[in-house]
């Protein structure tokens, strides 16, 4: 390993470079004169908050985007295509990306997936023996010891990720970019992926590793580039860098004075979670939620935040522990029962699970309780409009009419409807999973205000977010979820962004 790292530091020409690249989108400077080099055999971590410019930087290297100014060099030569051929040009020069969303075909074998669309063939007939031999070899190079004729459907998430990396490794790549490859994996599984990354680098291939897990980064990366607001802030040696220093670089030094929130939480406990385990994501979770309290849960993507909310809502079975709502165990309660008890849940992926895009704002709002606006099972248009209008006014939803299809609304207004649904249903405890994802700044502020207002009315809220900076703005208390357990607790007004971020990304 030391030799590899030395190669990384020595005067070996860079495999891939950005020279003063700038990319501007309407209203945003996505990449601001970025200069970046990565050497053969080097594992470079790429760090930054959402929207810091990591994806834009990656898209520059893959040729998916063209810089407004500046140049991109792969293997010493500049990318010259200015159209859709640019991605192909970058690919041919040896750049490969493994994205978070997997691109495997479950019903086909490992070997077939590995060579998908590029199967070795003679006159249209696939040469299975040769293909499977080559597949075994390619997988063995990454420490993946599986029969190549097995179906992908039976693989674990880590094995699928390794297969994706093996696919990226075909055809002698120069640079492999991994976009949060371990975010959906439990710790033990992530180890396998990291071991594979080390093997990739040992073959003299440069790796860009996007991740926020500091323990992983320390384990496998040589250096880390930190981005913020479209700029490359610094590249540091991970071995010597202090986590708090990296956090400071990621978040910047902008005044982060947390507002003083009026704590209205009462002594009455509405929800108590004790030693909850959802194997393998959550090992032992205990906390309680008071009436009128906004409790934040901070944690990285894949830390088990969603699993926790789903376990409480009865959507996901838990393996051990107890959940009590108003003092009564909910062990055998399903989702419907939880809703009946006054719990409401807004899912993380609003588009897929939160809304029915073609139905109106009214039906999307009222679906939790159609009985409230119908007589003998027949919906009353006037009562629907009236009930919807109440919610629209309370949550300041911008919509032309009550029956406008929700899909035509902005993300922020859609999210307000999803929250409004539970306000209409009269929920006392709201579990909000990333309620501000994909929402503009103004709508975010409105959503914070709505949440505070709901709390002031005596409702309790669990607010899950991976955007550290918003937690102090809305939460009375924040718990940090990491490695399957709640690690630290912060209480308003002492919720400090830097400490919070450090607590999220630090390893064991």
């Amino acid at each position: 390993m030391t030799t590899v790292s030395e190669i990384g530091q020595a005067a070996v020409p860079a495999v891939a470079s950005l020279k003063g690249c700038t990319r501007r989108y309407p209203g945003v400077l996505a990449l601001d004169s970025a200069t970046f080099d990565v050497a053969p055999g080097e594992v470079r971590a790429l760090l930054g908050k959402n929207g810091a410019g990591k994806s834009t930087l990656i898209r520059m290297l893959t040729g998916a985007e063209i810089p407004d100014s500046g140049t991109v060099l792969i293997d010493g030569a500049e990318l010259t295509h200015t159209g859709s051929g640019r991605a192909q040009e970058s690919f041919e020069k040896g750049v490969r990306v493994v994205y978070q969303e997997l691109s495997l075909v479950p019903g086909m074998t490992l070997a077939e997936n590995l060579f998908l669309g590029r199967w070795p063939r003679k006159g249209g007939v696939i040469q299975y023996a040769a293909m499977e031999a080559e597949a075994s070899e390619a997988m063995a190079r990454l420490g993946l010891d599986l029969p190549p004729d097995r179906l992908v459907a039976g693989l674990s998430p880590a094995e699928r990720q390794l297969l994706e990396i093996a696919r990226a490794m075909l055809g002698k790549p120069k640079l492999v970019i991994l976009d949060e490859p371990t975010s959906s994996l439990a710790a033990a599984e992530a180890e396998k992926v990291m071991a594979a990354v080390t093997r990739v680098a040992a073959q003299g291939i440069a790796v860009i590793y996007v991740s926020h897990r500091m323990n992983e980064i320390r384990q496998i990366a040589h250096s880390a580039t930190i981005m913020r607001d479209g700029r490359i802030i610094d590249t540091v040696d991970v071995k010597g860098a202090d986590t708090r220093e990296i956090v400071r670089l990621m978040l910047g030094s902008e005044a982060s004075q947390a507002p003083v929130l009026e704590d209205r939480s009462l002594s009455e406990t509405v929800l108590e979670v004790k030693d909850l385990a959802v194997w393998p994501k959550l090992a032992s979770i205990s906390f309680s939620l008071k009436k009128g309290e906004v409790l934040g849960i901070a944690g990285l993507l894949g830390s088990g935040r969603t699993e926790l909310l789903q376990a409480i809502m009865g959507v996901r079975r838990f393996d051990a522990g107890d959940i009590r709502a108003d003092g009564k165990s909910v062990k055998s309660a399903g989702y419907k029962e939880m809703v009946r008890r006054g719990f409401g849940y807004t899912p993380e992926s609003r588009k897929e699970e939160g809304i029915v895009p073609l139905l109106g704002v009214d039906e999307n709002t009222l679906s939790t309780n159609f009985a409230g606006v119908s007589t003998n099972g027949v919906l009353s248009a006037s009562r629907m409009a009236e009930a919807t209008r109440k919610i629209i006014e309370r949550l300041h939803i911008k919509t032309a009419r009550t029956d406008t299809p929700i899909g035509t609304l902005s993300g922020g207004n859609q999210q307000k409807v999803v929250i409004g649904r539970w306000v209409y249903a009269g929920s006392r405890v709201m579990l909000l999973d990333e309620p501000t994802r994909g929402v503009d700044i103004e709508a975010k502020a409105q959503i914070y205000a709505i949440i505070r207002q709901l709390a002031a009315e005596g409702r309790s809220v669990i607010f899950v977010s991976s955007e550290i900076e918003e937690l102090p703005l809305v939460c009375d208390r924040v718990l940090v979820l990491r490695d399957g357990a709640l690690q630290e607790e912060f209480k308003s007004p002492n919720i400090d962004q830097d400490s919070l971020m450090a607590a999220c990304i630090t390893g064991h």
């Binding site: 077939e112 998908l116 669309g117 696939i126 599984e189």
Partner: protein, 335 residues
């Protein structure tokens, strides 16, 4: 996929090192069993079921469904559907009869019939691949237009072809086996090979399993979709030719409801309507199940209206049992 599920899989991964898993063949095994049961029941209750003549009849009936079903299996694996099979067969039979009446040489008429079938199929394929018309709608339009055209030009009367040695030969058994059955089996072998061993066949699975991934890996998704429907049309045309040889005429009212038998056979055979999963062997067995049920119920002398009820129930029960068997063996595998 849920994570706890995945972790359980990882825990048991050592237990399943072999590429051959029972679950991958559970579907075919349960169909073999179903066919055996049907044979036992009909052999003991239906008079004449086991006779050589009846077995030949079963083969000939199977050919009518089977030839079209091979192509439809690929279409369904690709995540599409083709409901135009019956009218396509009838339309081609009429077209072939007219070509022969006009004195077109028989071999040329055959080629033209198959080419026209492929062309009409390709129209559905182009609508699907390049204009995003759902394949159900594209082929439903074809279903109505083809039947309508055939009825319109013939006034629903058979179009006779007179004496034709080549067509007669196609209806003359070889060693007791009807040529239609031989053609079906040869085409089965071709389709089984193509689906399992060729880049084209595997591309079909890839498109049905994850069209986006297939596209990104360079598979020409649109072209393959067009090709699939063209193949579907060509196979229906072959069935049409065999129909003419059997009836001695082109017939606009023939093959009524054939598309449903074909789709039922494919689905009973374990091919997922959602795409990505299926096998030719499964479809072959599915064709046999559908044909055996039809044949047995007739021999039992059951009221033809009630036959449809029994058939419908048997199809649903077969698919239900199949799904359960696969689920159970998968969960056992994942453990």
């Amino acid at each position: 996929m849920s994570l706890d599920h995945a972790a359980k899989q990882a825990a048991s991964e050592k237990a399943k090192k072999s590429g051959f898993t029972f679950s991958q063949h559970m579907n075919e095994l349960s169909l073999f069993f179903a066919i055996a049961v049907l044979y036992v029941i009909f052999a003991s209750t239906a008079p004449g079921f086991m006779s050589f003549n009846n077995q030949v009849n079963i083969l000939r009936d199977a050919a009518t469904i089977g030839i079209a079903a091979w192509a439809v299996t690929l279409i369904i694996i690709a995540g599409e559907i083709d409901v135009s099979v019956g009218p396509m067969v009838a339309f081609i039979s009429v077209e072939l009869a007219f070509l022969l009446q006009w004195g077109v040489p028989t071999p040329a008429a055959f080629v033209l019939a198959i080419a026209l079938g492929a062309l009409l199929g390709a129209v559905s394929g182009v609508l699907r691949a390049y204009f995003d018309v759902p394949s159900f709608v594209a082929t439903l339009g074809m279903w109505s237009a083809l039947r309508g055209t055939a009825l319109f030009v013939t006034d629903a009367l058979p179009v006779s072809i007179g004496r034709n040695d080549m067509l007669d030969a196609l209806d003359r058994s070889v060693l007791g086996i009807p040529p239609a059955a031989i053609i079906m089996l040869v085409l089965f072998a071709v389709f089984a090979f193509v689906s399992r061993k060729t880049a084209f066949g595997r591309s079909v699975f890839a498109i049905g399993g994850n069209a986006h991934a297939a596209f990104l890996s360079g598979i020409r998704v649109s072209r393959i979709r067009v090709a699939l429907f063209a193949i579907g049309g060509a196979m229906a045309a072959i069935s049409g030719i065999l129909l003419v040889s059997r009836l001695g005429s082109g017939n606009a009212t023939a093959a009524n409801g054939l598309e449903f038998d074909v789709i039922a056979a494919v689905v009973v055979g374990g091919t997922a309507l959602s795409g990505g999963r299926g096998s030719m062997l499964g479809t072959l067995l599915g064709v046999l199940v559908i044909t055996l049920i039809g044949n047995g119920l007739v021999l039992l002398g059951i009221n033809p209206f009630f036959q449809q009820v029994v058939r419908g129930m048997i199809i649903v029960i077969a698919v239900l049992a199949n799904i359960q068997a696969i689920k159970r063996s998968l969960s056992r595998n994942k453990g």
